[in-house]
């Protein structure tokens, strides 16, 4: 298992850089990962959806692009704008949770 230093803290990550222990995550760490992913600043909207993703993951529910749309936090269009490129992969990485294994 690999380790990575974010905001002065050593965290456990897998070979793709996803957290293996979501409890090691903090908001300061999220800001650092976001920069690596090309997102210069995390807004309140970013954090709102990150919190949704973390809660959903920690309660054992599957993550899908549809669940974002039905989250009541933001719609999918905004999600794509907030995390350009591959939004679900980027957002889960920043949220300190495993990469979703969902096809939808």
């Amino acid at each position: 298992m690999a380790q990575k230093n974010y905001a002065g803290v050593m965290v456990d990550v897998n070979e793709e850089g996803y957290f293996t222990d979501p409890s090691q995550w903090t908001k300061e760490i999220a800001v650092e990962i976001a920069k690596e992913e090309g997102i210069a600043t995390l807004t309140d909207q970013h954090f709102a959806i990150i919190e949704f993703l973390r809660n959903r993951y920690l309660s054992g529910d599957a993550l899908s692009i549809r669940s974002i749309n039905n989250s009541g936090v933001i719609d999918v269009k905004t999600f794509y704008q907030l995390f350009p490129g591959a939004p679900l992969k980027k957002a889960t990485k920043i949220a300190g949770i495993p990469k979703p294994a969902s096809c939808v």
Binding site: S64, I65, R66, N69, V76, K77, A86, L88, K89, V104
Partner: protein
């Protein structure tokens, strides 16, 4: 260093209108959008049903001539059963129920998700003429009606792939 050739763009053609044909297209298309790949989806012939407003959420799956179709419990469904009235509707309802459980959205909602992420949906001009559909019959998510030549123009570019589902 090993040279990588990532897929940068996909162009998916859907020519059939059964649930499984349309969903194969939509899942692959949406999956590409989610990966940040530029995505064009081209609906032609019976595939047009997936973007015709009145039909898109009422697709069926064929129950005759499908040797892979099984009854709940796993027993192979005898082809003759397929002609029992209501069997096609029943099977289609089962399929949709299963998909809902896996968070696979209805067709209209799937198109919302794909286009929200920047994916483009097109209709085939020849098939539109053949089935006598008008632009107004199509979902608002359709970006245009293309000829084959125009489709190839849209499909061009480095790292671009054409997929026929």
């Amino acid at each position: 260093m090993e040279q990588k050739y990532p897929i940068k763009k996909v162009n998916i053609i859907c020519a059939k209108g059964a649930i499984e044909d349309v969903y194969a297209t939509l899942v692959m298309g949406n999956g590409a959008v989610m990966e940040g790949i530029e995505t064009n989806i081209f609906f032609t012939f019976f595939g047009l049903d997936a973007i015709v407003k009145k039909r898109m959420d009422k697709l069926h799956t064929g129950v005759t001539g499908n040797p892979a179709l099984r009854l709940p419990g796993g027993m192979r469904m005898p082809t003759l059963l397929g002609v029992v009235p209501g069997m096609e509707a029943f099977t289609s309802r089962m399929m949709k129920g299963q998909m809902e459980k896996l968070d696979i959205p209805p067709v209209s909602e799937f198109l919302d998700l794909i286009t929200a992420g920047g994916g483009k949906i097109y209709a085939c001009k020849l098939a539109m003429d053949m089935f006598k559909f008008k632009k107004e019959d199509l979902s608002e998510h359709v970006s245009g009606i293309l000829t084959v030549g125009e489709f190839y123009e849209h499909a061009g570019g480095e790292g671009s792939q054409i997929i026929f589902t």
